[in-house]
C-alpha cells in the first residue's frame, strides 16, 4: 500500500523543542504531570524521558491511539487518553495519520506491556521513545479529565528522568510556556513541498473524475485517500500556497484540512480562501478548514472550554435530520447564528446556514453556503480514527463539483457510482 511520504521523516520536532531527550527507559522512572493551576499528578515515565510542555487536553476514543498521536491537529498538546489501556495493539505502518507523532506529550493510565495484534510491528512505548515523545503512565487519567472539564483545558508539563525538579521549578516551566490561544501552528506542521495522491493507487479504476487542490494545514493521511477512493486526484499543497499555486493545478474543487493552533491566526489562509471563493471554485473544509470558511464569511471563532476530542460525538445533519456519530478533535469553534439562513457578514458570499450542529452542546459543526458552492464541517468525515458515518460528505463535495464545474462535465458522474467508502 502506498504511503503518503512526501516530507522528511526525520524532520526535527518543532513542537517539543522545549527539550525532549530521547532515551527509551528500561525500568520506568518517576514522572510528574504539572498543570498550570498547580495540580500535580505523579506516575512513571512512558516513552521518552525528559520534558514535554503543551496544552493538556483529553481524548475519549477507546480505539485509535496511533491515529491520535500522529494527527497533526494535536501538535503542541499533551494528550490524556481516557481509555484505560493504551498500546495493546502496538503500532504499525498503515495506521499512522502522518509522517510522525505530533502530540507533545502523552498521558495514560495503563500502558501495555506486550502488544498483541496481527498487524503490530512494534510497541507504542518504543515508538514514543524513538520519536522523543515524553509520556507518563499510571496516573489517574479520569481525575485529570475531570479537572480539565471543570477548569478548562490549560497548559501543562510532563517531566521525567533528569527533568524532574522541585514542584515550584516545574510549575514555573509550565507557566513560561506559550498558550494555545494566538498560536499559529499550521505552517509548522504542513508539508514543504506539494505532492499528489492518485485515485489509481487507492482502488479507483479509470481516469480521475475530478482534481482538487488541498491545503495541508495539518492534513491527516486518510483525507486525500477518501477523495482518491472516489476518483478524485488530490494535489496536496503546503499551508503557504497562494491563489496562483492553487490555480496552477487547475482544480475542480478546493479543500482545506484540519490543523492545529488558533484559527484567529490564520489570516493568510482566510485571505486565500476568500480569493478562491471569489473564483467560484467549489470548496470543502474539514475542521480548521471549517473555521477558516467561517472567518472567510466574516464570522468569528472562539475557544471551547475543553474542546471536543473523541470518536463518539453526535452531530445532526440538519438537511436530513439524521444523526451521525463523528470523530472530532477541535478546541476552537465558529461563532455563527444557529437558526436558519443568515446573510454572511462578508456580504458578497451571500447566505449561509449552520448545516451541522453538535447534539451534546449545540456547537456549530458545519457551515453551508447557499449562494456559492462552499461547505465545511468541524469534525472528521475521514474518520481515522472513528466511525464512518460522515463519509457521505465526500460524495456531497463531488456532487457540488459536478454541479458547479461545466469544464469537466464530461468526466463528471454522480456520486452514486463512487467506490465503496471504506476500502482500507
Amino acid at each position: 500500500m502506498p504511503i503518503v511520504e512526501s516530507n522528511d521523516v526525520t524532520d526535527p520536532n518543532p513542537m517539543t523543542s522545549t527539550a525532549a531527550t530521547a532515551t527509551a527507559s528500561a525500568a520506568p522512572e518517576p514522572a510528574v504531570l504539572v498543570l498550570e493551576d498547580g495540580r500535580i499528578f505523579r506516575g512513571t515515565s512512558y516513552g521518552a524521558t525528559g520534558t514535554a510542555l503543551g496544552e493538556a487536553v483529553f481524548a475519549t476514543g477507546m480505539t485509535g491511539y496511533q491515529e491520535t498521536i500522529t494527527d497533526p491537529s494535536y501538535a503542541r498538546q499533551l494528550v490524556v487518553q481516557t481509555a484505560p489501556h493504551i498500546g495493546n495493539t502496538g503500532v504499525n505502518k498503515d495506521d499512522a495519520e502522518s509522517r510522525r507523532i505530533w502530540v507533545a506529550g502523552y498521558i495514560v493510565r495503563e500502558a501495555a506491556r506486550r502488544p498483541s495484534n496481527w498487524r503490530s510491528e512494534r510497541s507504542l512505548d518504543e515508538e514514543l521513545a524513538e520519536q522523543g515523545v515524553v509520556g507518563i503512565q499510571g496516573v489517574d487519567t479520569r481525575a485529570i479529565t475531570r479537572h480539565l472539564r471543570e477548569h478548562k483545558t490549560m497548559r501543562a508539563g510532563i517531566f521525567s528522568g533528569d527533568a524532574v525538579g522541585t514542584d515550584k521549578e516545574l510549575l514555573d516551566a509550565v507557566l513560561a510556556s506559550a498558550p494555545m490561544e494566538g498560536s499559529r501552528l499550521a505552517e509548522e506542521v504542513s508539508v514543504d513541498e506539494a505532492y499528489i495522491v492518485e485515485p489509481k493507487d487507492w482502488g479507483w479504476d479509470g481516469e480521475p473524475r475530478f482534481t482538487i487542490a488541498a491545503i495541508d494545514l495539518g492534513i491527516k493521511r486518510m483525507t486525500p485517500i477518501r477523495f482518491a477512493e472516489r476518483g478524485v486526484r488530490v494535489h496536496v499543497l503546503p499551508a503557504t500556497a497562494t491563489l496562483a499555486d492553487v490555480q496552477a493545478v487547475n482544480p475542480d474543487g478546493f479543500f482545506m484540512s484540519n490543523g492545529p493552533g488558533d484559527p484567529a491566526t490564520a489570516d493568510n489562509q482566510v485571505k486565500l480562501l476568500r480569493s478562491v471563493l471569489d473564483e467560484k471554485i467549489p470548496y470543502f473544509g474539514i475542521c480548521f478548514g471549517n473555521q477558516i470558511l467561517g472567518r472567510a464569511l466574516g464570522f468569528g471563532t472562539y475557544k471551547l472550554r475543553y474542546g471536543h476530542r473523541g470518536i463518539n460525538q453526535p452531530v445532526m445533519d440538519r438537511r436530513t435530520g439524521k444523526v451521525e456519530i463523528t470523530s472530532q478533535n477541535h478546541g476552537f469553534a465558529v461563532d455563527a447564528p444557529l437558526e436558519g439562513a443568515t446573510q454572511a457578514p462578508e456580504e458578497r458570499f451571500g447566505r449561509v446556514e449552520v448545516s451541522h450542529v453538535s447534539l451534546n452542546d449545540d456547537v456549530v459543526e458545519g457551515l453551508s453556503c447557499l449562494d456559492i458552492p462552499a461547505f465545511s464541517v468541524q469534525y472528521h468525515p475521514e474518520a481515522a480514527s472513528g466511525p464512518h458515518d460522515a463519509a457521505y460528505l465526500f460524495d456531497r463535495f463531488i456532487d457540488l463539483m459536478a454541479d458547479a464545474a461545466p469544464k469537466s462535465a464530461a468526466a463528471a458522474t454522480t456520486s452514486t457510482e463512487s467506490k465503496t467508502e471504506d476500502k482500507k
Binding site: 477507546m62 484505560p84 489501556h85 498483541s116 479520569r142 479529565t145 453526535p314 447534539l359 451534546n360 481515522a384
Partner: protein, 1110 residues
Amino acid sequence: MPKRTDLKSVLVIGSGPIVIGQAAEFDYSGTQALRVLKEEGLRVILVNSNPATIMTDPEFADATYIEPITPEVVEKIIAKERPDAVLPTLGGQTALNTAIALDKNGVLEKYNVELIGANIAAIELGEDREKFKGVVERCGAESARSHIIHTIDEALAAAEDLGYPMVVRPSFTMGGLGSGLAYDESDLRRIVGQGLQYSPTSEVLLEESILGWKEYELEMMRDKNDNVVVVCSIENFDPVGVHTGDSITVAPALTLTDREYQRLRDISIAVIREVGVDTGGCNIQFAVEPSTGRVVVIEMNPRVSRSSALASKATGFAIAKIATKLSLGYTLDEIPNDITQKTPASFEPTLDYVVVKVPRFAFEKFPAADPTLTTTMKSVGEAMAMGRNFTEALQKALRSLEQKGSQLDFSHVPEWEVAELIEKAKRPTTERLHQVQRALLGGATVEQLFEATKIDPWYLDQLQLLNEISAEIRRAAALTPEMLTRAKRHGFSDEQIGALTHNSEDVVRGVRQALGIRPVYKTVDTCAAEFAAYTPYHYSSYDEEDEVALHAKPSILILGSGPNRIGQGIEFDYSCVHASMALRKAGYETVMVNCNPETVSTDYDISTRLYFEPLTLEDVLEVIAAEERTGGVMGVFVQLGGQTPLKLAQQLADAGVPILGTSPEAIDLAEHRGAFSRVLDKGGLISPKNGTAVSFDDAKKIADEIGYPVLVRPSYVLGGRGMEIVYDEPNLSRYIANATEITPDHPVLIDRFLEDAVEIDVDALYDGTEMYLGGIMEHIEEAGIHSGDSACVLPPITLGNNVLERVRAATLAIAEGVGVRGLINIQFALASDVLYVLEANPRASRTVPFVSKATGVQMAKAAALIGTGVTINQLRSAYKMLPETGDGSTLPLDAPVSVKEAVLPFSRFRTMEGKVVDSLLGPEMRSTGEVMGIDKHFDTAFAKSQAAANNALPTEGKIFVSVANRDKRSVIMGVKRLSDLGFEIVSTGGTADVLRRNGIQATPVRKVAEGSSAEGEGTIADLIVAGEIDMVFNTPSGGEARSDGYELRAAATSIGVPCITTVAEFNAAVQAIEAQRTYEWSVTSLQEHAASLAASQNAAQAAAGVPQNA
C-alpha cells in the same frame, strides 16, 4: 418527531421462568420497559408466568397476567384486553417466538394488534441461518464458508476449499446427532460416512471451523429515522467454541485497532439495516481470525438479549428503556441520556474503565454431566466487576463469584505439573482460566498457552503480570505501602495478600487501612468524564480521586445476593429491590451493593446510590467506609439477599456496623443447631430426631439410634448442596467416605427422614410483638424433595384448620424465640398428624415473591420498614401495606389458588457419553427458576403451572406408567381415571400386571433392559424418543430397575415430554388433566384477583360485624 399518539395500550410479553440462557436479565429489561410505558401514559398489559420478577408486581402494569406464555393463552389476553400493540422484544426468545406464532396464526390481524419494536420479516431474517447468510453477503461481509454434500467424494472436494479442521453437521438430525469436528481426512471419511447414514436426506453440511478465533459482540440501537449507534463492544476472553454466556467477557474490546473495530461497526450497521430491525436493540457476534484479521459474522439477535443487560450495566446506557421509547416512535436524539441529563441518547458510550463478566456454573449439582464448555450455554449466573484496568476488574469479578477456589491461586506450581496444566487447558472447562494462570506461574510461556488455548496473548500476558505481582508480594519484606499499593491496583484481595505473606486477612486489612491505602469510588457515566454525571453509579478502584458526593441523610445499605446460582436466584433480588423502593418512599437514602449484572437491583435508578461491587467482607466494609465519610450510615440490611449477605452479618456487626432488622445473634440462634433446638423446646415444638457426626462411627451410632432412612448433609448447606437420603448402613458409609470432608468444624448433620410427610413452607413477618403470617404453602411432592424443586400450593388444599392453627402457633413461637425483626421462613413436615420443624431461616426466602403475588401483600417492603422500627400494627393501619385484619393464613375460601412449580435444567446437561443427565428430584436443589399458575381452583391452577413450565399436560394420547413397588397401590385410582378419560395406558413388567388385575387395559411394551425384539419392536425408550408417548410417569426404585428408569426419563427429558417422578405430582396431574378437558381456560389479572379477594374479605368482615375499612 415526538412519540406516536395512536397507541393507547400495549401488551408486553415477558420471558417466563428463569432457565439457563434466559435469566433475570429479562426481568431487568422488562421492568424498564413497563416503567417507560407507564410514564408515557399508556395502558400497560403484561403477561409473564414468573412470579419472582419485579415486572409482575401489580404496580408496574395496569393488568398483570401471571399466565403461561403460550400463543393460546396470550390470544385470550389479547381478546380480553384488546391492546393496540404488542411489544415482544424485551422478553427474550420466549416472547419473540410467541409473537411469531401469534402473527402466523392470524391472531394479530384478527384483533388488529400491531407488533412494535420488531417486525416478523426482520426476526426471520435474523434468526434463519440460511437467510442470515444471505444478509451477511449482501452487506459485503462473510459468514463461515460451507458446502452441502451428498457423497464422500464431494466431501473430499469440499475439504480442498475449507481446510481442516472442519465442522460436519448432518442435515435434519435431532439434537446434533452425528455432528463432529474433522481434523484430517480419515476423520472426515468416518464422520461424513456416519452422517450420510444418519441424515434422512443423506445430506451433510460441511463448514469451515472458526474454533479458536477471537470472538466479539457489538450491541446496537436503531431508531425509526435509521440512526444507529453502537452501545458497547464486548470481547470474549475465551475464543470461539465456548458460548458467550459461558465465556469470560470483557468490555470494551481491548485487542482491536480502530480500523478493525470500525470494520465490525460498519458491518453491524449494514446488517441491522439489511435485516430491517425497525427500532430497538440487537446484537451481532463476530469471529476474527487472529493471524489475519479475517472477519466472519456468526449471528445476530434482533432483540434485547442477555448481552444487552450486560452492556447496559457496563456502560450506563439504559438499552431496554431506550428501546421501549424507540418503539413508541421517539428517535435517539429526542431521548435524554439520564446520566448526563444534558446530552442525548444518540451517541456511543465510551468507557474509562474495564468491565469483566465471569460466568457461574453449577456442575457440582450435576455430577454426571460433562463439564466441557461448548456452544450450548451451561452457566446459571454471572458476576460482573469494573476496575480501572483489566487485572483489577478480573480479580474483583472472580471474587464476586463467591465460590471456593474462584480467586486465582498463586501457590507454588511444581514443574512436573506444568505440562499437565497446558494439556488440560486445551479443553475449555470451568477450570481453564486457573489452569492457564497456573501453567504460566509454573514457567510455561505465553506462546505455549496461546498455542494450547488461542486466548489472545495480551490477556495471557495480563495473567503473567498477576503472577509477577504475586511474586513481588511474596518477596516483600513486610506489608509495605509500595507493595500494597501495587497489589491493590491489580485487584489482589486482602485475603490473597494475606495468603502470600502468611498473614490473616484482618491483619492485611488493618495494616493497609492504617497506611491509608483505600479504594476510591469512580462513576459509571457513559462518557469517560467528558460531561458531569448525575447518577451515583459507582465502582471501586485503587486510584487517586474519589467521586462519592456528600449526602445529607445517613444511608441504609442493602446487600444484594450476588451472582444467580441454583438455590439463590432472582427471588432474593426481588426482596432487595422491594426494600429499596419502600425505604426510598419512606424518605430514606438507600444504597445497593451487588455484582450481578442481570438484575433489577443493579439498575442505577432503583436505589439512591448503586455500588457495583463484590459482596465480600472486604469490599462491603470499604463501601460502608465510603458512605460513612460522605454522610454516615444508618445501618445495613443483610436479611434480603439470601445467604450471601447473611453470612457477613456477624463480621459486619463485629466491625461496628449497625445491622437493621434481625440481629446477628438471632440469626445465629436459627442457624446453630443446639441453640435452635432450645428455641424449639421452649416453644414446645419438635424436629425430626437428629445428631451431628464427625466420623463414620458417630454417624452409624446416630443413624442406628434414630432409624433409617436418614437425611445426611454437610453442616453448611446452600440449596441442599450435598444432601442425600440414605436408606441403609452401606450407603451411609459410602456417603461419609465420598461426599464430605468431615472435621469437627465441618460435621455432618444426620436427621431422621420422614417418609410420606407433607411439607409445609411458611413466610412470616415479626416485629418483636406481633406476627403477620404471609402465607402457608403446602408442597405437592412429599418431604425429601428439596423445597425449591417441589411444587407448592397456596392456600393449602388438604390441610385442616387445626393444622393451620398449629403451624401458626409454631411460627409465632419460633419468630419470638429466635428474635426475628422482619422476615422469617420456616419449613415444617406433617407426618402422621405430627408437626415437625425442619428448619427456620431468619431472612427473605425464595418464596417471598410467590407469597406476595398470591396474596397481594408486599412482604419484602413490609420487612424493610420493620427493620427501621415500624411495627406491624403501623403497617396495617398507617402504611396500609398490610391488610387491616387477618393475614395469609386466614384467606377466604373463595380466594384464588396459586401453584408454584419449579423449572429444571436437565436437558442442558449431557453425560460424557452425550446423554441427558437424570431428571430425578431429590434433597439437593437443581431448579433454576419457577412459574406460577393462579386460578379459582387447584386443578386448573396446577394445569396452568405445568403449561407455564413448558411441561404442558396432555389432554389425550398415550401415557406410560411404571412405578416402584411401594407406589403401586397409590397410583391405581389415578391411572384408572386417565384410562376412563380415554388415554391409552402403556406399561411394563410388574406395573402392567398390577394395572391389568385392577381392570385397566395397559398395553405392554419392552423394557429398556430387554432391548429391541428380533422383529424390531423397540423399547419404551425408543417409543418415547419417537414421540409416541405423551406423558411419562415413573417413580424410581433401587437396583436394576433404576437404570431402566434413568433411560426412559432421559429419553423424555431429551425430547421434552412431561415426565412425572412422584405419586403426589401424578395425582395432581390427573386432576389437572381432567380440568383441562372439562373447562375452558380463563385469564384473570392479578389486579382483578386482588379486587375480588378484597371484596370477599370485606363481605366476610361485614358478616362478622367487623367495621369495614372505608
